[in-house]
């Protein structure tokens, strides 16, 4: 890590109200280029709202989000989003799903084909390219989603509890796969989870949010060597530190 880190995403005084309900209260933070940032917080603290504000799906009530110093714009910035719910389009095959983002960005046909092949290879779904999601297991579906997100070579990748519904064994595998892809592509990742262990396992920094109205409670660096051992003393201590920060009971 001897290169000088640039700021990639800059959130300034984000505030969001639904009617009179204050959901986000004056949130400010930076994300570095190529960083893996995990965001944890108590259940129902508006993490998804937070992420949706980042991408301007919900307009923020106050504040700015800058990417490379300019206001964020999905039509200009190359962003990908992976959600907790299955977000594969059920009417498209695996291959068509992976093409989806590239087609919207109106990439050239040869580039699309090249990327699709590359992604199918990486997530190991080559034989299943013509299957529809309802013919696949949940793990293959999530891998399709990951492939779709990485296919555009995003400068910023947002993940909202992507593995929340998976069983534990699969989660472990896909987390490792994600780390591999992240290292390979050098993309900036913002990863939301309510699973503290997952956050500490993946992140370079963990940002802890408070309960509604959501504010930033603390940002912890998380620089254990990889691959990380979830049963090691240091890991468990760090995990407990984060857990204590979000305990509300």
């Amino acid at each position: 890590m001897n290169e000088i880190k640039q700021v990639k995403v800059e959130a300034r005084n984000l505030t969001k109200k639904f009617g009179d309900l204050l959901v986000l209260d004056n949130i400010s933070f930076d994300v570095m280029k190529g960083e893996f940032l995990c965001i944890v917080g108590p259940t129902g603290c508006g993490k998804t709202t937070f992420l949706n504000c980042l991408t301007k799906i919900f307009d923020v009530t106050k504040g700015d989000i800058l990417v490379d110093g300019k206001p964020i714009d999905c039509k200009v910035n190359n962003i990908s989003y992976i959600l907790q719910e299955t977000s594969t389009m059920p009417w498209l095959t695996v291959e068509q799903n992976i093409r989806f983002g590239l087609e919207i960005k109106k990439e050239k046909e040869e580039l699309i084909n090249e990327r699709v092949e590359e992604m199918l290879e990486i997530v190991g779904l080559k034989e299943f390219r013509n299957y529809y999601p309802n013919q696949l297991s949940i793990s293959m579906i999530q891998r399709t989603v990951i492939a779709r997100a990485f296919a555009t070579y995003p400068e910023l990748l947002l993940m909202d509890e992507p593995y929340g519904q998976l069983d534990i064994e699969l989660r472990f595998r896909l987390e490792d796969e994600l780390i591999k892809l992240w290292k390979k592509t050098g993309t900036t990742v913002i990863f939301i989870t309510h699973n503290v262990e997952e956050a500490v396992y993946l992140a370079e920094r963990v940002m802890v949010l408070t309960n509604k109205p959501t504010t930033v409670k603390e940002i912890l660096p998380c620089d254990l060597p990889r691959p990380r051992d979830v049963a090691s003393k240091e890991f468990v201590e760090l995990r407990n530190e984060v857990t204590d920060l979000i305990k509300w009971w």
Partner: protein, 258 residues
């Protein structure tokens, strides 16, 4: 063991149907409990059916002529109704201003059954093809709009988000996400309105026509020919079922993965 069980229930079904026909035969042909004008015997229905294939008595057309006349009217109204209903339903669901203006009018108009328009359409368009097609149009239009509207409205917001973040415009999201994901609803709409079309057709033909299956059973009723009435009803049922089957065949070809 399991196979044996299924057979058992098949047998019960078959026996019930046989008993039904037998009872029907007994009360009509053997004991004559009902006058012929009310309930014909099953065999007379069968022979009337065979005869009607070639005979033009009493309504001036063979069965095939009536089927053909009905099909032309029903399909004309159906195609126009779907053709107008699809874009209206889609734009109502996707564009808020359209929703604001059109929805209340639509909500009111949809509570009026297509049949009630018959007097107006006959004044406007006479009693030819266009009036009947217009009546069918009303039912088909309503059925299509309602289903397409709710289909588009129920587009999973998660899918919309994905497209939005990839930078898709509103029209592009409609084209790439909302419409494909609403396809099952759209087909439900097409199926429901096919039923509506068939219903509207019979109603229109009962009230004002010189050909067609509805006209045929109406004339048969006037002559007290209950056997022909039942032949007509069965034909109507079979044609309706066949049209639905054809549509379902198309649906299986088009809608995949959902």
């Amino acid at each position: 063991m399991k196979r044996l069980k299924i057979n058992k229930f098949r047998v019960i079904s078959a026996v019930t149907l046989c008993v039904f026909v037998l009872v029907w035969y007994l009360v009509t042909a053997v004991f004559g409990l009902f006058p012929k004008t009310m309930l014909p015997s099953p065999d007379s229905v069968f022979f009337s059916f065979i005869k009607k294939l070639t005979s033009t008595v009493p309504d001036g057309g063979t069965l095939f002529e009536h089927i053909f006349a009905s099909l032309v009217v029903a399909l004309t109204g159906y195609v126009i109704g779907v053709g107008v209903g699809l874009p209206v339903g889609i734009s109502m669901a996707w564009f808020r201003p359209v929703d604001h203006f059109v929805r209340p009018v639509f909500d009111f108009l949809r509570t009026i059954p297509g049949i009630a328009w018959i007097p107006i359409f006959t004044v406007w368009l006479g009693i030819g093809l266009s009036a009947k097609a217009a009546i069918i149009f009303v039912g088909v239009f309503v059925g299509t709009v309602v289903n397409v509207y709710s289909g588009i409205k129920q587009t999973n917001e998660v899918h919309i988000w994905v497209a939005q973040i990839f930078g898709a415009s509103k029209i592009e999201i409609l084209k790439r996400v909302a419409i494909p994901s609403a396809l099952p609803y759209i087909f439900t709409g097409l199926r429901v309105s096919l039923g509506m079309a068939w219903l509207g057709l019979i109603a229109a033909e009962l009230l004002a026509a010189q050909k067609g299956l509805g006209y045929m059973i109406q004339v048969a009723r006037n002559f007290g020919r209950s056997d022909l009435v039942i032949v007509g009803m069965i034909t109507i049922g079979i044609m309706g079922a066949l049209l639905t089957l054809a549509l379902e065949f198309v649906e299986r070809r088009v809608v995949k993965g959902i």
